[in-house]
């Protein structure tokens, strides 16, 4: 059994189910630098897997027309990019996504992902109503791709912050990508955060996922090579068949 690099010494190696923010960053660095994955590759894999998780939690045949409408709220950082990819795959999977992406990142990755969504006729809202009832009525579910681990709420600008405040009062299902926006990635303290029904952990669950109490928790980490998983001493349920997500 290979020894792990940097796990919490108070946790037995076989029992680790979560990564700290620093470990998550180290895992990503290993994929990017040692394995030479491209950032775009990883974002595509995560976004695709997030969409697959939505199809598992909310299978299309069971949904009415209105319930297939999905509002995807994207922040300006990497989590937002994953949200853009997720929206595109939801479109391909025959859901009806709409995107709210108010603080557009200037980097090429975000711009290209935005173009792909626009070209597939996915509408981009110019503003999000602050009256949550309007969102509850217009959409069947919401995907929160606003903040990710290590992104401070203050960094993402007014419209995103206001959107999160509105989403806190949501009564339709909420799916958060990686960490519920507003939660502290380590402690899961969620004074200002959301209460998602579904959490899709990207690559591996973060510590705050220990405090998640919603309906479904998926990990989208099929693409993580075994050696990397072993190096971080993660023990997670296996994936079946060709599934890119596993339910925890």
């Amino acid at each position: 059994m290979s020894s792990a690099a940097g796990p919490d010494p108070t946790e037995a190696p076989e029992e680790r189910r979560f990564l700290s923010t620093a470990e998550a960053a180290a895992l990503e660095r290993e994929l990017l630098e040692d394995y030479r994955f491209g950032r775009q590759q990883l974002v595509e894999l995560c976004g695709h897997a997030s969409a697959v998780a939505v199809t598992k939690a909310f299978p299309l045949p069971a949904l009415s027309r209105k319930q297939r409408t999905v509002l995807v709220v994207c922040g300006p950082e990497q989590n937002g990019a994953v949200g853009l990819v997720c929206a595109r795959h939801l479109r391909v999977f025959e859901y009806e996504p709409t995107i709210f992406y108010p603080m557009r990142s200037l980097d090429l990755l975000h711009r290209d992902l935005t173009t792909q969504c626009e070209k597939m006729d996915i509408p981009f809202l110019s503003y999000l109503p602050t009256e949550v009832q309007l969102i509850n009525e217009a959409y069947g579910l919401v995907v929160d791709a606003v903040l990710g681990p290590g992104v401070e709420p203050g960094e993402v600008g007014g419209p995103c912050t206001r959107a999160l405040a509105t989403l806190k009062l949501l009564s339709i299902p909420l799916v958060s990508l990686d960490i519920p926006s507003g939660w502290d990635a380590e402690t899961g303290s969620d004074a200002d955060g959301l209460r998602p029904d579904v959490l899709v952990s990207l690559a591996a669950p973060k510590r705050c996922a220990g405090r998640f109490s919603g309906r479904h928790h998926f990990v989208a980490g099929r693409f993580v090579p075994d050696d990397v998983r072993r190096k971080f001493a993660l023990r997670l349920p296996g994936y079946t068949g060709t599934d890119c997500v596993a339910a925890l």
Binding site: Y35, Q40, D112, D121, Q133, L134, E137, R222, P225, G241
Partner: protein, 247 residues
């Protein structure tokens, strides 16, 4: 607390004027040569699964396939990396559906992935990586490697996942039949034109003598210039290309 009627009124007002969410009935459909375009219906603004089930699959010519690619790159701003990842993942998924690990003799099942000098070879590298994650034991033969970051990165990803790269191609079909349960042909794709040069000419000759199944990515390599052998199943990420010699 707002009354329902007021809410409805607000909703209509917002939907009509300030909220630019397009209702599905009025989505402007894009008609045209995009591969998913012709299948969309105006009324639904999305695919009608019944129509799709009853419509025969359209086969693309080489020119059409190239036009699809160009549209994806130029208009949709997809990158080669992105499309290659999706293509390779789709192929691995298709192979796993056609030849599930439980149906194979060895555990894990052994697969030989032969990668050509272009993008089809890149698809094969991605496919091999996902096959490994799906529980297969792939081995790659990749004799002609473009000196571009895209391809060197894909090779690194495979190497780091302990996927072996053969130094030379087994010279006899029986050698391959004995060692591998499946061969993935990722040699040439739809943009292939002209004569098959070495070492691929010899490789294709060996593959023609195989008894184990071959899964070809996009088109059976060499189709159009040579007769396609028995047992060549085809699979690909895009709608099938038309080949002069259909399997």
């Amino acid at each position: 607390m707002l009354g329902v009627r007021t809410l409805l009124g607000l909703g209509l007002l917002v939907a009509g004027s300030r909220l630019p969410r397009i209702k599905s009935q009025t989505i402007a459909c894009r008609w045209g040569p995009t591969w998913w375009g012709p299948q969309r219906l105006n009324s639904g603004g999305r695919w009608d699964s019944e129509v799709m089930a009853s419509t025969a699959v359209k086969y693309l010519s080489q020119e059409e396939a190239q036009a699809v690619d160009q549209e994806l790159f130029n208009e949709y701003q997809f990158s080669v990396d992105q499309l290659m990842e999706l293509a390779g993942l789709s192929c691995a998924t298709a192979i796993a559906k056609a030849y599930p690990p439980t149906s194979m003799s060895r555990s894990p099942p052994t697969v030989l992935v032969i990668c050509g000098p272009g993008n089809n070879g890149g698809d094969g590298l991605v496919c091999a990586r996902h096959l490994k994650l799906f529980g297969y034991e792939p081995t790659i033969y990749y004799p002609k490697r473009p000196n571009k970051p895209l391809f060197t990165a894909l090779v690194t990803q495979c190497q780091k996942m302990d996927i072996p790269f053969l130094g030379e191609m087994p010279s006899e079909p029986t050698m391959i039949d004995e060692l591998y349960e499946l061969v993935v042909d990722a040699i040439f794709g739809f943009s292939f034109k002209g004569d098959v040069r070495e070492p691929f000419h010899s490789i294709l000759s060996v593959l023609k003598g195989l008894t184990v199944p071959i899964a070809s990515i996009d088109i059976p390599s060499g189709a159009g210039t040579q007769k396609v052998g028995q047992g060549w199943g085809r699979l690909g990420p895009y709608p099938p290309d038309s080949c002069p010699h259909q399997v």
